[in-house]
């Protein structure tokens, strides 16, 4: 009982410090600003541009399209696709400093000589960066909510929830893997580049899987982040997708803890 409380205190302490570091980092604000700008731009473009959804639906309806198009659902799908893709660029920049900065500042030596387990540190850090990512999403979600509130009939809340849960799961997976990459190097730039490469590979791996024959191809294709994310966005609950995302998250945490432990043995 007491042990659990100490563990919780530790995770919470790491979490708070990590989160605080984002709110004091000019780079984090810059990343958020760019994220908002591009996200907001796409929100407007999807809905109101000349080839946008509203114009499309108007044209289709004027031509007497049957069945009628579910506009809010279409919008949500497009928009979450955009946010997912955009996040692929942003997330490596959020995760790059998680451990690389600790190594650079020498604070890893403090963490490694404190009575905190490696995985508690990793978990606290992951929760911190995920919280920051969700904070980054909030303004975009707000504008999305405003757009959707105008729809009649309203969108099924379950579909909305599923889509956004998918986005957060996707982001947590990417951040978890990015954290592991960050634990491998003291260079944040290198961490960001490697993470981006890794995530890109996992994003399009189903295309590679399609090229491979038989069971191998299926197995490789199953690892794809995009396929499972699309399932979530479409409101299709697939437990294999949930399991895949959770596996990535746990794998990232596990590898991070391992790499920090290994670091002790090869440091010179």
């Amino acid at each position: 009982m007491n042990r659990a409380r100490i563990l919780l205190t530790n995770i919470l302490a790491i979490y708070r410090r990590e989160l605080q570091s984002y709110f004091f980092s000019p780079l984090a604000y810059l990343i958020a600003a760019v994220f908002w700008l591009i996200g907001g731009f796409f929100l407007v473009a999807i809905l109101f541009s000349q080839g946008g959804l509203i114009a499309q639906v108007a044209t289709a309806e004027s031509m007497g399209a049957v069945p009628p198009i579910d506009l809010p659902y279409q919008f949500l799908q497009y928009y979450l696709d955009v946010l997912g893709a955009l996040s692929l660029f942003v997330l490596p920049m959020l995760s790059m400093g998680l451990y690389a900065d600790e190594r650079k500042q020498g604070t890893l030596e403090l963490l490694a000589t404190s009575p905190v387990t490696n995985w508690a540190v990793a978990l606290g850090k992951l929760l911190g960066v995920v919280t920051f990512y969700i904070t980054m999403l909030l303004p975009l979600l707000l504008s999305e909510a405003i757009a959707l509130s105008a729809s009649e009939p309203p969108l099924d809340p379950a579909i909305m929830l599923m889509g956004h849960a998918g986005l957060v799961l996707l982001a947590t997976s990417v951040l978890s893997l990015g954290m592991f990459v960050s634990s491998l190097t003291a260079s944040t730039v290198l961490a960001a580049i490697l993470t981006f490469g890794l995530v890109l590979l996992l994003w399009v791996i189903d295309a590679i899987g399609n090229g491979l024959p038989g069971a191998w191809g299926d197995a490789v294709g199953y690892l794809s982040l995009l396929t499972h994310y699309t399932d979530f966005v479409q409101g299709v609950f697939d437990s294999s997708g949930l399991i895949l995302f959770l596996s990535y998250i746990v794998l990232g945490l596990f590898l991070t803890a391992q790499s920090i432990e290994t670091l002790r043995f090869q440091r010179n």
């Binding site: 530790n10 403090l110 404190s114």
Partner: protein
């Protein structure tokens, strides 16, 4: 409190430390003294559980540092070579963070932090962002971080590195104030530091222990010396001085004034000071001055680590740039007496080349 037994660590084929064995008693301050690259930081890191040893054991508070790493971590405060600080935190915020991860109970945190701030003279800086602090203050925050959870064992790696003279005095006083309730091991390459703060010194060179003793004993071990100024026949004075029991070496120095001759004596055993005076006066020589110069730790250090000579010329002992308290003592201590063997008194010589030292100084660590 700290027991190190046959501790070795090598990085690949490079041996960092070899067969270190030493103990630190509860409440004691042990100084780990050695030139740069001697293996001090490696030793500290192993003790703190940051690095595993290649072989041998290290126990802190009766726990093996690697096997019982968590138990050890709860009982140590550790200041690494570079203070581990988060620049975007305030001093107080950082100490709260450290207190949390070191397991200080929630109710005790505020009081422990206030005490650490007070101790390290940081109370006025408590709300300042660490990024904005000068090097000296950062070092103090590093120290506060190491003591905030009131650990029984404190490991300090170069606690005064990069500080200005005033700050060095502050930090030394702080460390001395911690002795008694805490067991402290600190590393340094600054000689006066150990003689001022430490109860015992372990000198390591190239990863091996060359001596462990109190600073006083180490200095005594190198022997004492006298400087005498004599009026009269220098040849006769030389003979008289050489005849005094306990005087092992006599070395003529340049004349200070017409008719006054100065000699440097190296002595051993019971203090022969009064015998020197008596003999000189009995021989009808004029004694103007008889002064004792104690061997400094610099001498001990150079004696013990004489192989380092080409890297550390005696003109520039590592301490020379830092301590104003000792600047007065510097000129004397850096002037290493050149030993002259008894049977053949030679001419005056000014050379203090390191090569001479290597050739003539007996090497203690061989």
């Amino acid at each position: 409190m700290i027991e190190v037994e046959r501790l070795s660590k090598s990085y690949g084929s490079t041996v960092a430390i070899q067969d270190l064995t030493f103990q630190v008693e509860p409440g004691e301050i042990l100084g780990l003294l050695g030139p740069n690259g001697a293996g001090k930081t490696t030793t500290m890191r192993i003790l703190a559980g940051y690095l595993p040893a290649s072989s041998g054991t290290a126990r802190v508070a009766d726990y093996e540092v690697h096997a019982d790493s968590m138990a050890v971590r709860q009982r140590i405060g550790y200041l690494p070579e570079t203070p581990p600080l988060y620049p975007e935190m305030t001093v107080e915020g950082f100490l709260f963070f450290v207190a949390r991860i070191k397991g200080v109970a929630a109710g005790d945190r505020a009081a422990r932090i206030a005490a650490a701030l007070e101790r390290c003279n940081l109370t006025n800086q408590r709300r300042v962002m660490i990024r904005k602090l000068s090097k000296g203050f950062r070092q103090r925050v590093g120290l506060a971080q190491a003591i905030v959870h009131d650990p029984p064992v404190i490991i300090l790696d170069e606690p005064t590195a990069g500080l200005d003279p005033r700050q060095i005095i502050d930090v030394r006083n702080l460390i001395k104030g911690l002795a008694g309730q805490h067991t402290i091991i600190l590393s340094t390459h600054i000689l006066p530091e150990v003689s001022m703060t430490c109860d015992r010194v372990t000198i390591i060179d190239r990863g091996e222990i060359v001596a462990t003793d109190t600073p006083q004993n180490l200095m005594a071990r190198t022997g004492h010396g006298y400087a005498v100024e004599i009026g009269g026949d220098p040849q006769r004075a030389l003979e008289v001085l050489q005849s005094v029991p306990g005087v092992t070496q006599v070395e003529p120095r340049p004349m200070t004034a017409p008719g006054r001759h100065t000699f440097q004596l190296v002595t051993e055993g019971d203090d022969p000071g009064s015998a020197i005076a008596t003999r000189l006066v009995q021989a009808g020589l004029d004694l103007f001055e008889l002064g004792r110069n104690q061997a400094s730790l610099e001498d001990v250090f150079i004696n013990l680590t004489v192989q380092e000579q080409p890297l550390l010329p005696p003109e520039e002992p590592p301490a020379a740039d830092v301590d104003p308290v000792n600047t007065a003592a510097q000129p004397e201590s850096t002037e290493i007496p050149e030993p002259i063997e008894f049977p053949e008194p030679t001419e005056l010589s000014e050379s203090t080349d390191s090569e001479d030292l290597i050739a003539e100084e007996p090497t203690a660590d061989e």
